[in-house]
Symmetry: C2
Subunit: 337 residues, 2 copies
Amino acid sequence: MADVAKLAGVSRTTVSFILNNVPDTNIPDATRQRVLQTARELNYMPNAQALNLATGKTMMIALVVRQTSEQMSGDAFAGEFIRGVTGVIEAENYHLVIHAAEPDARESTYGKLVRTHKVDGLLISSPLVNDQEVKLLYREETPIVLHGAPDTQDIPSVDVDNRQGAYMAVRYLIDLGHRRIGHISNAPFSYASSSDRLDGYCQALEEAGIPYDESLVLAGEFTASSGYEPMRALLDLPNPPTAVFVGSDMVALGAMEAIRSRGARIPEDISLVGFDDILYARYTMPPLTTVRIPAYELGRSAGDLMLKIIRGESLPGTRILLPTELVVRRSTIKCPA
Amino acid sequence: MADVAKLAGVSRTTVSFILNNVPDTNIPDATRQRVLQTARELNYMPNAQALNLATGKTMMIALVVRQTSEQMSGDAFAGEFIRGVTGVIEAENYHLVIHAAEPDARESTYGKLVRTHKVDGLLISSPLVNDQEVKLLYREETPIVLHGAPDTQDIPSVDVDNRQGAYMAVRYLIDLGHRRIGHISNAPFSYASSSDRLDGYCQALEEAGIPYDESLVLAGEFTASSGYEPMRALLDLPNPPTAVFVGSDMVALGAMEAIRSRGARIPEDISLVGFDDILYARYTMPPLTTVRIPAYELGRSAGDLMLKIIRGESLPGTRILLPTELVVRRSTIKCPA
DNA sequence: GCGGGTTACTAACGCGAGTTACTAATACCA
DNA sequence: TGGTATTAGTAACTCGCGTTAGTAACCCGC
């Protein structure tokens, strides 16, 4: 910048004024053009580090994800979510820093990110249920957006409407005539997504006057293999379900294998609905009916909300819930009985 | 830092010396302990922005990915790769910035990242074949590591050994007695990965004395659906192959569908080998024989190489090729004829 | 031809560190 | 006792920018 100033025959201050379009500064057009021209000639690029120090902003936002992210690696969700976030924030000249949170570190490692002024805000995916650090940072006015967190806090958050999605799926099975409907969750019920999906399942049953039978509800744990045993257990019941709502397509893969291993047919003997609409869902045999999650849009919402918070435009306690969509394929059929 | 200095009754310089363990500075242990103690009491955290400006380093590394990344979204590769990179670089206090490259912008957007001192180095995934900007940045001594690039340049790069992986896969089919082996690529042959895998295919054929038949070689394009038509075309040949090596598991899914649509059986009528070992590969029917890519290790290698380059420890022209692994499942069988 | 207002700038400080060059006080030795 | 090393520090500069306060030069009207 000093070079530009010298070459254009003005002070550094003037160059700064011109390049930043500072208002109320009487600079004649001749000078302005001359400075802009020499800046172009010298291919001047502002030093972001100095700019950060002067303005106090880093123009960086961190996406904090769990290290052992079975949730993430299961499908294209992470990639799409990230695409959504970067799409929004890079348009405003922010950048995304990916930060792998230690799975069970005593002291959270992401607090340092904002306390050392490495990033301006935190996008935290699937925070631990009772993470005190998050609440502390929030009270310190750190811009924070949560994803996949329970709704108990007033910290801004985005998520997919898990309850509504599950409700839709189970409601669909009920409409097909099924009355005995099992459920295998995507994850242990301590996770917000699992318990919300269970809620939707229960709500649909209740609305249809079907009593809740806890022997029909079992927990999966992210992976396909975690769906195998629960499904076998359901099939071994004296009065097995005619349909099962699985809280995750990956887990449903294991369930399908279990069904095949028993010689039962999908959907003739048992209807199956998954959740997520992973890429493979349309290539299973038969193609899997499932609930689509708008991962890209979720990323956009998260990024957008973060920018609003940083600009101070956001109301406290904002929670954005994106609707899901039922994708009917061929793993579901009218209840035969 | 000034606060610490004042409270400990020393100058800021002394604090800086102590906290940074600067050698050859005669500071008695009493003073040292006192300063460290007050730093702890004040919960002092260095301001990364100021530190960056002073040292000239940003401690940030950018991962540049294509915006329209069918390659990335196809499976868990991206997530695993990123985990690998962050695992390595965060241990050295570096952070990873994800940057979505405009698909076909006139001027590359990632050059700015390093020219404005936002990041210290560039990890570029699947760069365009003739990206002049990359070469320019490299000549400017920017730390760069390429992934998924052709080997024609002396820019440091990491990749999986595509040629060897393809060779292994085709060699396996040949060992099973197949002589008429088709190939559907993972992407257009302008991509380095596709042409390398084709090379491996050719090498295996040549070694076995099987003449190359160009009617048996067709191009896929990342997605499952792109595998459908090529497979139909192979099946419609007057003398169809008894085995097909598909350069991507996703593409293989489409191929399997095509095979089923013709009423042919896998592997009895046609053996199939994929590439990538996506999560879903073991749940196809039948489970897919494929070539596993070590995505996590690839990420670690990339991060490690980047750190070495930044430290000036790397020899120019370093190219790291990680071996693949053949995963035999049930989509391949001895040639019946 | 003198005061007041505008125009067109610039000097200087601050952001929070790293770093160099220098000094005052003490210790040691002859 | 005088001279020299060593010890224990510090003042001041730098990094590249934003920003505030201030100032010369000119114009206008009376």
